[in-house]
Structures are given as C-alpha cells and as structure tokens.
Amino acid sequence: MSQRIKAHALFEIYQEARGKRIFTQSILPGKIHFMERTMRDKGQEYREFDPTRSKLAAMIMKGCTNIGIRKNDKILYLGASHGFTCSFVSDMVGKEGIVFGVDPAPRVMRDLIFLAEKRHNIVPMLENANHPEEYKDKICEVDVVFQDVAQKNQEEIFIKNCKAFLKEGGYGLLSIKARSIDVRRKPKDIFIEIRDRLDKVFKVIDYRLLDPFEMDHAMIIIKKQ
C-alpha cells in the first residue's frame, strides 16, 4: 500500500498524501480523547488536528511557516481549558517534552486532570495566568509560551509570562480574540495595535488572521531576543 501520510513542512506535523487535513503522531496509540478521527500508517497512529476546533491548527492551515514547537520542548500553555489543543501539543513534543497547562477554572481543570493522568507529559496547574508570581515556583524555564485566553488584558498577560518564563530565543504564540477586548471596534484595528505594541518588546515574526476557521481571531508569533 502506498504511503497515506507524509511529513508537513512544519516540524512534528503530518499531512495526508492527498488532501489537506493535518495530523500529529499519537504518543498514546489507540486512545482517543476528543472524538477526533485517527489514521494508521506503517504501524503508527496519527490523530487529526481539526482547524475549526483549535486555533493552533487554524494557524497551520493558514500557511504559517514556523510555529516554533519542536520535539522535547518544554512548553507553557496558558488557557489550557479541556485540553484539546494541549493534547496535540503534547503529541508534538513527545514523551520527553513537557506541557505546563495553566487554567484558572475548576470545571475545565477536572477534564484536564483526567487527560493528564493518561498523558504523562501534560502538567495540569490550577492557576491564574494573570499572576505569574503565584506559580513561578511550580515550573521551569520554557522554550515556547502558547497563550489562548479570552481576557481583556491578554496582551499584558502574554508579555508578563514571556518575560518571566520564556528562554532567550524562544518563541511565543499569542492568539487574540478581538471580541473580548472591544466589541465595538473593528477587529483588524485591534490586531494591528497589539502587533505594534508587541513589536517594541519582542520581535514579531508572524501575524495572521484565522478568518474562515475562527471569527475575529488572529495569531501573533514572537521571538524573544
């Protein structure tokens, strides 16, 4: 049988030989956490990364050239929620890597804990991303910061956490929800304003609207220097 899955241009991401769907290689073959579709190829199991359910997948589908996540990376994930994207990031970093999933809500933390009990590279933390000083003694320095919180001061939270935990030369991924900043202004104006402000602190290397997959969302990727 011919090859059904081939490597994507990005690290740790796979795609169909024919078609556009993207996949990650499962570190726990045979386990499905979120009703996602799976595909088997050459003894390996691949989980489909649905761009309508995850902003990171949407960013990849929009043609992002570098998401900064590599194998064995240590990742700080702010706004882990039920852990949908978190489980794919944990696939990407592999068993040697680690994902610190931070979320302040007890309800979703329950689901994340059940996920973390199966996947030993997800670390659930019931903390508020607004106060990094409260969890600075619970984590180590990280290679990538991924933030997806729907807060009014999401940019401020991002800068705080990147300054505190991100290594020099590490990447930061910020997904912005325009509607939680201001419902009356045009989303694009908000994104450009935030991008310019981030550019003064870090180096912005990518900025994309996630349009057909997520309404009024954008993602910015920065590099700390």
Partner: protein
C-alpha cells in the same frame, strides 16, 4: 548561601547557584508545610538567606533538566487535585440546584402536554376544564374516570391496559413536581445561611438566578448595580450597544413582585432601585455584614405602593 524552595523540594545553594544540599518533598502535604523543611535546613547550615528576586530567573533555568520533569508532573498533578477539592463552594451547589429547577420546568411542561393529549382520547372534557398542570396530573393519577365523570363523555371507552400507561405517566409528572419543590426548599435552606440578605429581598428563585448568572457571590458583590439590573438581558444589551436599538430595562429581576406590580411607566425605575438595593445586599452577605434586607424591602414597597397579596 541561599535557601530556595519550589514545588519539588527545599534547596541550599551556593553563591554560584550550585545545589549544595536539598530536601525533596514526598507529597503535596510537604509542599504546603514547606517551612518545616526550610527550618531543618536552616539548622544544618548557618547564614542562609532567601534567594533575591533577580536571581530567581536563573533558578528556572537550573530546573530545566530532564530528571526534574517527572517530579514536576507528580507534584503539580497532586496540587491541582488538592486545589480542585477545596474549590467547591456553596455557589456551585446553588448554581446546580437552580439550573436543575429550571430544567425541570421545561420537562414538566413537555410531559404535561403529552399527558393531556393522551388522556384526551379517554376523557377530553377533563383536559378542557382543568388547565392547571399539577392538579390535572394528580386527578389522573389518583382517580378513575368513573369518579371524575360529570354527565356524559365523548372519549373512547378504553380497556384497563391502555389507561394504566396514562396513570403511570401522571405519577411520573407528580414525582417531578415533588422533586422541584424539594430543590426549592433545599435552596432556601442553604441561602438562609449563605446569603440571607439576598434571599430576603429577592426571594429564592430570583436570588439563586442572580447567583447563577453572576457565577458566584464574590463576583455578584463586585458588580455595579447597573450590571445587576441587566443580568440575564445580555442579548438585548449587546444588541443595544452594537446596533443602537433600545436599551433593556431589566433582566432576571423582571419577575420580582416589586417590578411586576409597579405601574408600567415606573417599571424601569423600580428595577433600577431594586438593583441598587440588591447590590447592597450582595455586599452585606459577602462581607458578612448585618441583616438589613427587611429595611430595604419596606422602603421599596412604600416607594412603589406594593400591596401584599
């Protein structure tokens, strides 16, 4: 030499940030009582100072080694479970109870409509003159058609087998009514202890609904009166903000007797004043103040001439 503790253990560090001595925690209880471990290390080594802030960044790099990852995982998982256990409050119990009460409302309506349709095959006149759902279900469940019959009926004469299913459904509906009543009594019982002022001024259903919409007493106490007035009218409010349609005057407090009994022209005003007093009540309850709600209630009733009925 420095003393530094994190979730893994307590460490003694040299000036160059090399680990000299360490005591690792066995479980999360140790982390919560970490001062005991710090004291032990302090007795062993003299002249220990806490780590200055500007050096904490370097510590994070030190713990990036793979051997610590397993421990980070275990300790943080335990800590998250511990915090989750402590996070359950009366708020969540009230929110679940009121949410189920409202769900039962919908269920009762659905089942009652079906019972009416079904029983009308047998005895249509009863469904016609008895419009109250609970009384209707009670009649069907406890009495036979012979006992209820007034004059003649145009319903079909059905066998016992067919009627039995209807009586079973009626009993189920009565059970649901009973469950709802139990929920309301339970809500009253916890709210009497947890938020007596809100209970007194808003009543069980509206008070619990406000707590549900604001996701807890803490947040309700922090909200301004104008937001409390419009809790539950978010759709109309954002339509107003976005398109400039007319602004809503009341949300969940619309069903309160003070707003309901006020003349139509005064309803907005009544809602505003009521929301103002509810804000005060929420703050009194959250900060464990005195019981002032009856005073406010009397004031509002005088202002809007509400006669008790």
């Amino acid at each position: 030499m420095y003393l530094y503790s994190n979730i893994i253990g307590s460490f003694v560090l040299s000036k160059e940030l090399k680990v000299i001595d360490s005591l690792e925690f066995e479980d999360i209880e140790d982390y919560i009582h970490k001062y005991q471990f710090e004291n032990k290390l302090q007795q062993k080594h003299k002249n220990l100072q806490p780590l200055p802030d500007y050096k904490e960044r370097e510590m994070l790099v030190l713990f990036k080694e793979d051997k610590y990852m397993e421990k980070f995982y275990k300790r943080n998982l335990e800590l998250a479970k511990h915090k989750l256990k402590l996070s359950v409050t009366e708020d969540q119990l009230i929110i679940q109870a009121i949410a189920n009460t409202q769900e039962l409302d919908r269920v009762i309506n659905l089942l009652s409509k079906r019972l009416r349709e079904w029983y009308s095959l047998y005895y249509p006149e009863l469904a016609e003159y008895m419009t109250h759902h609970e009384k209707f279900a009670e009649m069907v469940a406890t009495k036979t058609r012979k006992e209820l019959l007034q004059g003649k009926t145009m319903g079909a004469d059905l066998d016992e087998v067919h009627v039995k299913q209807m009586t079973l459904l009626a009993k189920q509906i009565l059970g649901t009514f009973e469950l709802q009543k139990q929920h309301k009594e339970y809500l009253k019982y916890i709210m009497e202890k947890y938020c007596p002022n809100i209970l007194e001024l808003a009543g069980t259903t509206i008070g619990a609904k406000l707590l549900e919409l604001s996701k807890g007493l803490k947040r309700l106490a922090m909200l301004p009166a104008s937001t409390i007035q419009l809790l539950g009218a978010e759709k109309a409010l954002f339509r107003h903000l976005k398109t400039g349609a007319r602004s809503p005057k009341y949300g969940a407090i619309f069903h309160h007797p003070i707003v309901q009994n006020a003349p139509r022209s005064d309803r907005g005003k009544a809602a505003r004043v009521l929301a103002d007093k509810l804000t005060l009540c929420a703050r009194l309850d959250y900060f464990k103040g005195e019981f002032k709600a009856p005073e406010y209630k009397k004031l509002l009733e005088e202002k809007f001439n509400v006669t008790k009925d």
